[in-house]
């Protein structure tokens, strides 16, 4: 019994800690958000590695795709909702989607798990995903590639990126948003 209580306490601590980081991130705190995504990627890695033991090569691709999904859909998180439920639903959806698209029926039977499982372990030992970031970016149209390059990689502000490219500020924001969605699709495509 004591061990179960310890386990529950650990889950609650993880939930509270990650939730606090995400909420700060949603308010625009990049440092907290970075910490949140980093911790989350370790949890995703352990979660997927356990369930994709027959396909270790897919793990890191799926970690990255799921991180992008979390980022692109972060506006669907409501702060009155348990973070565990939200994160697990996304991770499980991305995993099922991968398995379904590969029509891997054997692995499907392995998916009746508890939502706490997503925070059950953490694995920081990252392998590289198979696609190179530069390669992925090169495949995007300029109206998406340049905003990501300037704002996300070179750290310019939206205003500076708008001046540099001659695009409007809202076009920069839309370019970043759509570009990240396209990247998520590209990580999957061809993998």
């Amino acid at each position: 019994m004591e061990r179960i209580e310890e386990r529950d306490a650990r889950f609650t601590a993880t939930e509270n800690q990650l939730r606090a980081l995400l909420i700060q991130g949603l308010n625009g705190n990049a440092t907290a958000y970075h910490q949140f995504l980093k911790a989350l990627s370790a949890h995703f890695r352990a979660y997927f590695r356990k369930r994709l033991f027959q396909r270790p090569d897919d793990v890191e691709d799926l970690v990255q795709e799921t991180l992008l999904a979390v980022h692109n859909q972060r506006h669907t998180y409501r702060t009155d909702q348990p973070l565990t439920a939200w994160v697990h639903a996304i991770a499980r959806y991305k995993l099922m989607d991968l398995l379904r698209s590969r029509a891997n029926r054997e692995a499907l039977t392995d998916l009746l798990d508890d939502e706490l499982e997503v925070f059950a372990a953490s694995d920081t030992d990252a392998a590289d995903a198979r696609k190179d970031l530069d390669q992925l970016l090169a495949g995007l149209p300029d109206r998406q590639r340049l905003p990501i390059l300037y704002v996300k990689l070179e750290g310019l502000s939206v205003v500076e990126a708008a001046q540099r490219t001659g695009m409007s500020e809202s076009a920069i924001k839309i370019g970043v948003h759509r570009g990240l969605k396209a990247l998520a699709a590209k990580i999957r495509g061809g993998a």
Partner: protein
């Protein structure tokens, strides 16, 4: 690409995000969808000429009350299905209540009617067209709701498609009441429910195909 790189990329230069954009997105879709459906109704079917007079009768308001309460409940259902991990909870009851209420009223009306009148009460004058008209009028709403759902993050796609279709169907029934000449509860209990079921089932079938993200 290293995941570390991706994490830095995603976290760089973020701006504050407003939580809960789901209901806002469905509200926008509702605005466009209802406008489109109303336009389609006026062009394809027309508004019933005696609308002002009919609005004075108590029975006239049963259809809008039924459709509006179902639309409201399905709005909440669709909005929750669009967010990962959100629980439906008691919304199922809110969804079932208007339908059960209409069936109950219809049963009471039928039991109290003379046997010879019962068929008329169920079939009315327009039973052949009513469900298809509701489905037709729902098309702009259906497209709008799928658009709203697609931009969010549904994780149960068939259910999410059905939820979007139900919201479209119930809102369409509300618009269709401006045209529909029928007043009897038994008519509504069968043909309106059937008309709403058409976009709902279509959504359930299309969901897994069109809502992937």
């Amino acid at each position: 690409m290293k995941t570390e790189e991706l994490v830095s990329l995603l976290a760089a230069g973020i701006t504050p995000v407003h939580g809960n954009t789901a209901s806002r997105r469905f509200a926008v879709a509702m605005g466009w969808g209802v406008s489109g459906a109303a336009l389609l109704l006026v062009l394809a079917l027309g508004i019933r000429p005696d609308l002002a007079q009919a609005a004075g009768e108590f029975m006239f308001w049963m259809k809008p009350a039924f459709a509006a309460s179902l639309a409201l409940a399905s709005f909440i259902v669709a909005e929750r299905l669009a967010r990962p991990g959100a629980r439906l909870g008691f919304v199922w009851a809110a969804l079932a209540t208007p339908v059960l209420a209409v069936w109950l009223v219809a049963a009471v009306v039928l039991v109290n009617a003379a046997p010879a009148q019962r068929a008329d009460l169920v079939l009315g004058d327009t039973w052949k067209t009513c469900p298809f008209n509701i489905a037709l009028i729902s098309l702009p709403l259906f497209a709008a709701m799928l658009w709203a759902m697609k931009g969010l993050a549904p994780t149960r796609l068939a259910l999410a498609g059905a939820g979007a279709g139900l919201l479209a169907g119930a809102s369409s029934a509300l618009v269709y009441a401006l045209h529909c000449p029928e007043l009897a509860a038994p008519f509504m209990a069968v043909w309106y429910v059937l008309g709403i079921a058409i976009p709902t089932l279509t959504g359930a079938v299309l969901g897994p195909r069109v809502l992937r993200w």
